[in-house]
Amino acid sequence: MHTMTSRERFMAALNGQSVDRLPVISVCQHATYDQMEQLNSAWPDAFHDAKLMAKLASGGQSILGFDAVRVPFCQTHEAEAFGAVLKYGGKLGLPSVDIHPYHIGDTIDFPADFLSKGRIPALLEAIRILKRDVGDQVIVMGGIIGAFSIASLLFGVTDYLKASFKKPSDLVPYIELCERAGTTLAKAMIEAGADVIVVEDMVASMDMISPKIYRTLAWEYEKDQVEALSVPTIIHICGKTDPIIVDIAKTGCAAISVETTVNIPKALENLQSEGLTTPLIGGVDPVKTLFTGQPEDVKYEVRNAIAEGLSMISPGCSVPPATRTANLRAMVDTAKEYQA
């Protein structure tokens, strides 16, 4: 087989076609201090400045050798646009929501000029730059946050989760609003040049909610979002998503990103028995293997992931920024051992 370009390889893997080797990407954030130093583009400036953001994200290709690049690094753009007050983590950490802007019961209007709020313009500009500079070689991924998860940031997760159990119907209007926010952002990202949209719905994790609440309050909005977008959508949910893997696939998403705690052969079997061919992405534990392990440990996990039937290799969740480049590169090196 001829050597595919990153773009061909990524799209073929999403479509279930044969590939010269598995694509290696990172579905979630993977900026590291190493890349920041080499590229001379560091946090916190790279959260605000489109050029620096794009430069740091380009390390996914130029330094790590991945088949895709992605922005943003944090999970706070939509919430910020709704008025959440952020706290920055300086050079070392990601911004987080410091003050949740609303209480459950409040009337919330969709922010007019949503796309010009906070750091969204910089994020969109970074996608334009990435598309221009590396978009002919690698896939440009734009990351948004799932509706169920954005809504948790508006109120604070404790009150939100209790309400999700006691009176889920109270939350519906808010989640609808957040779905609109994510979809609006995703469409603007596509217009700016994003080839693929990643939806991180981290609060819809089984570490947080039951399959029942997932089906009532998260699933429908993921599905609406997937249907509204003109490019392939990858859904990422943290933790053991085994009980809902078939549901996620039924949103119609192009692929599912899973953590290493998910039983891959069983998940594939469950999908197959429903006639679903949704590719699974993952295989590498970001903390145990990438952050604390050695390149040999990474190789072992990637080989295992390939044997288990994953369609793309990726860390199962966000990469700790202090992770060494050698470990991330080992993902690509191992995938290349299988080059046809």
């Binding site: 990601l94 987080s96 209790k162 006691k166 609440i213």
Partner: protein, 216 residues
């Protein structure tokens, strides 16, 4: 008679029924039941059962949070009546969620168990700067520090905190917890205990309290 009240306390916690717990707690006081026993033989077994239901995926975090509310409703009534020395672990604990991380559910559940056991709790809250843990440990001379993180990007700050605290006070026990934490990482980083989720944190906290109790 008193067993019936203990059962009501336990069931009230399990069924996240705050009203039932409040009624049972008041009844316990009316009958001059030992407050310590009402907490440890009523409320705490309820929370242990909640942990079991969580483990079996019958309960999830929302249920656990509501059970915690019910337990606090009981604690607020019973704790002022606990005799000073009795049952108190005489422990001091510093706890918080590490810098950059705002996920405090697990930490709050663990805090509740410490509150219940009469610990002096210094809760630093969420998104706590790394040095603050070290400072607070020194200031309070706590026997225990609990660090929590839910994100793969924030948990790595724990390593530095553990090193700094152990350097200054090797006797202080450190427990770390949160979804990305593993036993392997806890031991590599020199922590004395670890808990992956709220349920394990609950169990671990109970174990740790009983072990400290037996020392004091």
């Amino acid at each position: 008679m008193s067993q019936a009240i203990l059962d009501q306390l336990k069931e009230g916690v399990v069924n996240y029924d705050e009203e039932a717990v409040i009624t049972a707690a008041n009844e316990a006081l009316a009958q001059e039941m030992d407050a310590h026993s009402a907490i440890f033989d009523g409320l705490v077994p309820g929370m242990v059962e909640v942990g079991r239901l969580y483990e079996e995926q019958e309960y999830f975090v929302p249920e656990m949070l509501m059970c915690a509310d019910a337990m606090y409703a009981g604690l607020n009534i019973l704790k002022p009546h606990m005799k000073k020395k009795e049952g108190s672990a005489n422990g001091v604990v510093v706890m918080g969620v590490v810098q950059g991380d705002v996920h405090d559910i697990g930490k709050n559940i663990v805090r509740m168990m410490f509150d219940a056991s009469g610990f002096e709790v210094h809760d630093l809250g969420r998104d706590v700067p790394l040095d603050k843990f070290v400072e607070e440990q020194l200031k309070t001379d706590s026997n225990l520090v609990c660090l929590s993180a839910m994100m793969t990007t924030t948990m790595v700050g724990m390593k530095e905190i553990i090193e700094k605290i152990k350097e200054k006070n090797p006797k202080c026990k450190i427990m770390i917890g949160g979804a990305p934490v593993t036993e392997d990482i806890a031991s590599r980083w020199g922590a004395d205990g670890y808990a992956r989720d709220a349920n394990n944190a609950l169990k671990d906290a109970i174990n740790m309290i009983s072990s400290l109790k037996s020392i004091s």
